[in-house]
């Protein structure tokens, strides 16, 4: 059994027959391997969010099939069958704290598991676990989520998704508006879920540094199509192409292009600070430097 996510010629049209009609996805075919950490990048309006909403069937394709871990979704799949699928695909939306509604943190986190039929006792057990996982102090369990800080609210929302024990976790700009410390904590959490719990992580992001630091695969979207799918180093190898896609290089790559423009003859586009430092050292030591 190939347990993966695959899209076969998927098209999605928004608001067909109106002046706003547009193909948000245009014959997209792709495969995402199980237990991969895949980043989806592309400028605003390129179809990233539409793409991921198909993975847990919040949107159904206008044409084409999708297969998620052996479950098929076609334009004619009924809503009843979709609910079971959604249990396996956790989705953390942008600013997920906006979805909180319960009177206490624990109740809000229990909401998902209970919707999928867990008993109160089981739901609570998963909720307590999820709180620990996201680093929420147990003392917060009976507090109103609306009294917490923005960063804590976001973790409650993420815990609410994790409590359903999904196999696939989709994160749509999970760090938007957070300070560097909060940013790192959320990204490290995603990495931990990937490394230690074998989750498939799909990250929609504008932060190229995160792509390089965390992702093993990258999908580049442009005008509703997948224009490149590869490792970070393959994606960022050609700075000109990256700019043409209205994307940025990671900070190190960005800095390297400025160095090159200033006349420092770097050879490749480095992806991380360590790469960049290595290359600079290599240049400084010139021909004397002969390892590798």
């Amino acid at each position: 059994m190939d347990q993966e996510i695959s899209f076969n010629q998927v098209t999605h049209t928004y608001q067909a027959d109106t002046p706003f009609a547009q193909n948000a996805l245009d014959k997209v075919s792709l495969k995402i391997a199980p237990n991969s950490f895949t980043a989806i990048i592309g400028h605003t309006g390129s179809g990233k969010s539409t793409l991921v909403q198909h993975i847990n069937a919040l949107l159904k394709s206008t044409f084409g099939e999708i297969e998620v871990y052996g479950r098929q979704i076609t334009p004619s799949t009924t809503n009843k069958n979709l609910k079971q699928l959604r249990k396996h695909v956790g989705m953390v939306f942008q600013f997920p704290e906006k979805q909180l509604f319960e009177e206490s943190v624990i109740k809000d986190i229990m909401f998902g598991p209970k919707n999928y039929g867990a008993s109160d006792a089981d739901a609570e057990k998963s909720a307590v676990k999820a709180m620990k996982l996201v680093g929420l102090d147990a003392s917060l369990r009976d507090q109103s989520p609306f009294d917490l800080s923005g960063g804590q609210m976001r973790r409650v929302a993420i815990a609410g998704v994790l409590a359903m024990n999904p196999e696939i976790l989709i994160l749509d700009e999970p760090t938007a508006g957070l300070d560097p410390h909060g940013h790192k904590e959320i990204m490290d959490l995603a990495q931990g879920l990937h490394d230690h719990r074998n989750m498939t992580i799909i990250l929609v992001t504008h932060q190229m540094d995160d792509v390089v630091d965390y992702a093993s695969d990258v999908i580049v979207m442009d005008r509703g199509q997948v224009v490149k799918h590869g490792t970070p180093s393959q994606i960022f190898a050609d700075p000109k192409w990256v700019y043409k896609m209205h994307l940025d290089l990671p900070s190190s790559g960005e800095f390297a292009t400025r160095l090159i423009r200033a006349g420092v003859p770097l050879e490749k586009t480095p992806l991380t600070i360590e790469n960049l430092a290595d290359e600079i050292v290599h240049l400084i030591q010139g021909g004397n430097h002969t390892d590798e």
Partner: protein, 265 residues
Amino acid sequence: MSNFLFGRYLPGNSWIHQMSPQSKLMLSFYFVIIIFFANNIWTYGTLSVLILFVVLMSGVSIGYFLKGIRPLIWLIIFTVLLQILFSSGGHVYWHFGPFSVSDTSLINGGYIFVRFLLIIMISTVLTLTTTSLAIADGVQTVLKPLKKVHFPVDTLALMLSIALRFVPTLMDEMETILNAQRSRGVDFGSGSLRHRIQAAVPLLVPLFTGAINHAENLSTAMEARGFTDSEHRSKYRVYRWQKKDTISWIIFLFVGILILFIRNN
């Protein structure tokens, strides 16, 4: 909420776009009133021709209007059915207890349907060709006489304008929250009534919390931008009465008089 058109202005430069909002607003009211004077095929026909002409002049495609009807379709069908089943007179084709279907009731049902269509079309023309701010301004002008009795017309107009401006924002937010809760296993729009009401809580609480947040931030921003009260402000937009308004009024008044003549008395 892709087929929700209210508050979605379509920029354009058509004849209808250029009319002053207060006369568009008043003409829409006037049109709704004369609809209720229509009672035969000629009167409904005349009004349908007029509205098609208006739609044509607005430069907005007709399919768009039909989309606007979709959310109201059940209300329309329900009313039309009531009309068909409960009105009496004429040649009876079928009857069962208090229900009956006759040629008169079928015709009345058809009229009710056209009436709905006309009202939806005129209000859709108004909202598609007029910015929310212009509608609020129109209301302000129309209500101006009430200022004499200390009715807060300006404040009301500003409130209305901001409320309309936030409609698309809140609709988008609602869609996101719907999706978020759906991924947490909520079934919206299925199951018993009790179940449906319960399912609304995880949607409504975040929506209201969000709206309150918007309101708080917005009032801070307005204050920072020097807002004190809605009376002591100058106006960026002034909608002057134009030739187009006069011509439109003449056409509409003429149609109104025509309706009075050709209706069954």
